[in-house]
């Protein structure tokens, strides 16, 4: 909410500071586990392919790194089709 308001008051353009924060968030998450963009794409394709062999996927699956403090985790979200 506060961020949203801040955005409004800073004439729409994200500040260079918020760009720096966004970029750091991605870079540090990947650096910490030694994962490149390429590896993330490979993981995504392979995980989805594996699930798709056994279940029917519905919607857009997502595989991404998330961080909690200095710890990272792989967040896999794969919507499935109900019967």
């Amino acid at each position: 909410m506060l961020n949203f308001l801040k955005r409004i008051f800073s004439n729409g353009q994200p500040s260079s500071r918020s760009r720096a924060n966004d970029r750091l968030r991605v870079v540090l998450t990947h650096d910490r586990v030694g994962a490149s963009n390429h590896l993330m794409e490979t993981l995504q394709t392979e995980i989805i392919a594996l699930i798709a062999r056994h279940m029917e996927i519905d919607g857009t699956p997502e595989v991404r790194l998330i961080t909690e403090g200095r710890h990272s985790a792989l967040d896999i979200s794969i919507p499935l089709k109900g019967r």
Binding site: S10, R17, N21, V27, R70
Partner: protein, 270 residues
């Protein structure tokens, strides 16, 4: 020598990225601690690229260096350079014509072991990078000060260093943010302290503003902490207090409050 505490705290000041202010921090913190009456020794481990002697203004007093100590050419006592201003501040110089491989981590640990009984603080100036020189510098330390600038490349390197310190089982890792410019943070053009802590997830030890006085004091070989009016001196002094175990509030370099911004945008105030 007047040692105040029975134990000795060994700090390494490190950063990954070069030029962020490690040596400046080592010179100022050691001088500040000595001024408080502690016995302090600084160890320059930037072998081949030494600068600490210049920043402390002790370049003319250097006779021996740490490599000569470990190679047995002189004793540790002979190599220690006494500070001009404080009788309980000493510097163990780096060798200028040698390189990082002329020292092993075990040798650094040995030297520190010999120094511990006589000093309250040992502060190690670590070279930039993550190679041998870094490994040597962290080997003997039990606490780490990670220096960074509010800049993406410095933060990325700091994060790498923190990861390596954690792997080396460091429990006490604290952040020193150097060269912050509150005006730029306010305008949204620089990472804030809050941003840095959110990214690096470590405890804050201090915040030193950008201060042109640092260059002037380096020219003179007198650490800026001695110029008490300067903003950098106040910041370094707060860090010294925290290293002594005191709780000192952080200087208000805070970003403009939400209300401040609101007022400004609607043309109130200013």
């Amino acid at each position: 020598m007047a040692k105040k505490n029975p134990d000795c705290q060994v700090y390494v000041v490190t950063s990954g990225k070069g030029g962020v202010g490690k040596t400046t921090a080592v010179a100022n913190l050691s001088t500040g601690l000595a001024k408080q009456g502690y016995s302090v020794v600084v160890m320059d481990l930037d072998i081949g690229l030494k600068k600490l002697d210049l920043i402390l203004g002790l370049e003319n007093r250097v006779i021996y260096d740490i490599v000569q100590v470990v190679e047995g050419e002189c004793t540790l006592r002979q190599a220690l350079v006494k500070d001009k201003r404080f009788p309980d501040l000493f510097m163990l110089p780096a060798a200028q014509t040698r390189n990082k491989d002329d020292l092993t981590a075990e040798q650094v640990v040995e030297v520190c072991k010999e120094l511990r009984p006589d000093f309250d603080f040992i502060i190690i100036d670590c070279p930039a990078g993550i190679e041998k020189g870094f490994q040597n510098a962290i080997a003997a330390a039990d606490k780490a000060i990670v220096v960074t600038n509010p800049e993406v490349s410095a933060v990325r390197d700091a994060d790498r260093i923190i990861g390596m310190l954690e792997s080396a089982e460091f429990r006490d890792i604290k952040l020193l943010v150097n060269r912050i410019r509150p005006d730029m943070v306010r305008r949204g053009d620089m990472l804030s302290i809050e941003d840095l802590i959110e990214h690096l997830c470590i405890e804050l030890l201090g915040v030193v503003p950008e201060d042109s006085g640092v260059v002037i004091s380096t020219n003179r070989g007198e650490p800026i902490i001695l110029d008490e009016k300067s903003s950098a001196a106040q910041a370094f002094n707060n860090v010294v207090q925290r290293m002594m175990g005191k709780e000192v509030p952080f200087m208000t370099l805070q970003e403009e409050s939400f209300w401040g911004k609101l007022k400004r945008n609607f043309g109130f105030g200013r």
